[in-house]
């Protein structure tokens, strides 16, 4: 089956190529969805979070989790995966296609509900602030609120993140 590409309007082709100065507060994106398999939950768990409720489906039934659940940072890493793949599709206009990247920090990261094998999460991103700050002479900060919802429409994960975006040198 052919992979479905989102429609490329003149505007969204350049999402990742814009200067800090051209990125509006209030912009909202749906990065996409991901279904967590038992296999990947266990693989991530064995490497980074070796607790039986991440790695052993049988033993996990006898914990308060009542079965295996994805590690919190697995849920976060999938946010990154979907963001990169979403942004890469919209990276025209600069030589290396990128004027932003480096994360500075995270606030209020909360895991509200367990993510179990077979659950599908949909991740959203909203720009909520552009703090008035110049970092290392050429970067600005884009603050976003990020959420993930499962197939029951429950919000399972949420956080705010500050990410650097390059300021237009002509405006500095």
């Amino acid at each position: 089956m052919e992979k479905q590409e989102p429609q490329l309007s003149t505007q969204n082709r350049y999402i990742r190529s814009r200067w800090f100065d051209d990125i509006p507060v209030g912009e909202f994106h749906v990065f996409g969805s991901h279904t967590f398999s038992e296999k990947e939950i266990i693989e991530f768990g064995k490497k980074y979070a070796p607790e039986i409720y991440h790695t052993d489906p049988e033993a996990a039934f006898n914990t308060p989790h009542r079965g295996i659940v994805a590690s919190g940072f697995h849920v976060a890493a999938i946010w990154m995966k979907l963001m990169v793949s979403y942004m890469e599709r919209f990276a025209d206009g600069v030589q290396d296609g990128r004027r932003n990247g480096a994360g500075v920090g995270v606030e209020d990261m909360i895991w509200f509900h367990p993510v179990r094998p077979g659950h599908t999460l949909t991740y959203t991103y909203e720009i909520i602030d552009k703090p008035d700050k110049v970092v290392r002479g050429r970067w600005g900060i884009i603050r976003s609120r990020n959420e993930a919802f499962n197939q029951y429409h429950e919000r399972v994960f949420s956080f705010e993140i500050d990410i650097l975006a390059e300021r237009n040198p002509k405006l500095l």
Partner: protein
């Protein structure tokens, strides 16, 4: 086993050390964070990080690994993470860096959403082999109440 009511605010733990190889960095980046500065030496050199470096989320995941291993060796009944009230990426982590963590138990509070566990909030700092802090965060952890609950 140490349960929530056995834990003490002010207690500190020092984790073991984990060394990250270039292969570890590439493996994580290919799956979760395929950006040039996590995949390619040249792109890393030219980037704001100044070299091929680990995804910030891999550093967070390794922090969790260090914390889980430490709590296990101290027999603390960790039941999951409620949240991370704040976290800062301070400097990049490069291939060959060895990471270890300092964990300070800040507060112990009842949990409003889970009756099998109480909450423990920790200040966690992860440092490299040069004693430079690479990430600093607060983590709110569920610790089981155990049999007496």
């Amino acid at each position: 086993m140490r349960y929530w009511h056995d834990c003490i605010a002010g207690e500190t733990f020092n984790t073991d050390q984990i060394t990250l190889s270039e292969r570890d960095i590439l493996e994580f980046a290919r799956e979760f964070d395929p950006q040039p500065y996590h995949l390619d030496r040249e792109a890393g050199d030219k980037s704001i990080f100044g070299g091929l470096c680990a995804s910030g989320w891999q550093v967070c995941a390794l922090m969790m690994r260090l914390l889980i291993d430490t709590f296990k060796s101290n027999d603390i009944a960790l039941m999951g993470v409620q949240g991370v009230p704040s976290m800062r990426w301070k400097i990049p982590v490069f291939a060959g860096d060895s990471l270890s963590g300092d964990i300070d138990v800040a507060t112990l509070e009842a949990s409003s959403d889970r009756n099998d566990s109480g909450l423990m909030t920790c200040d966690v700092k992860v440092k490299n082999q040069k004693n430079e802090y690479v990430i600093a965060l607060q983590a709110s952890l569920y610790i089981a109440h155990g049999e007496q609950a």
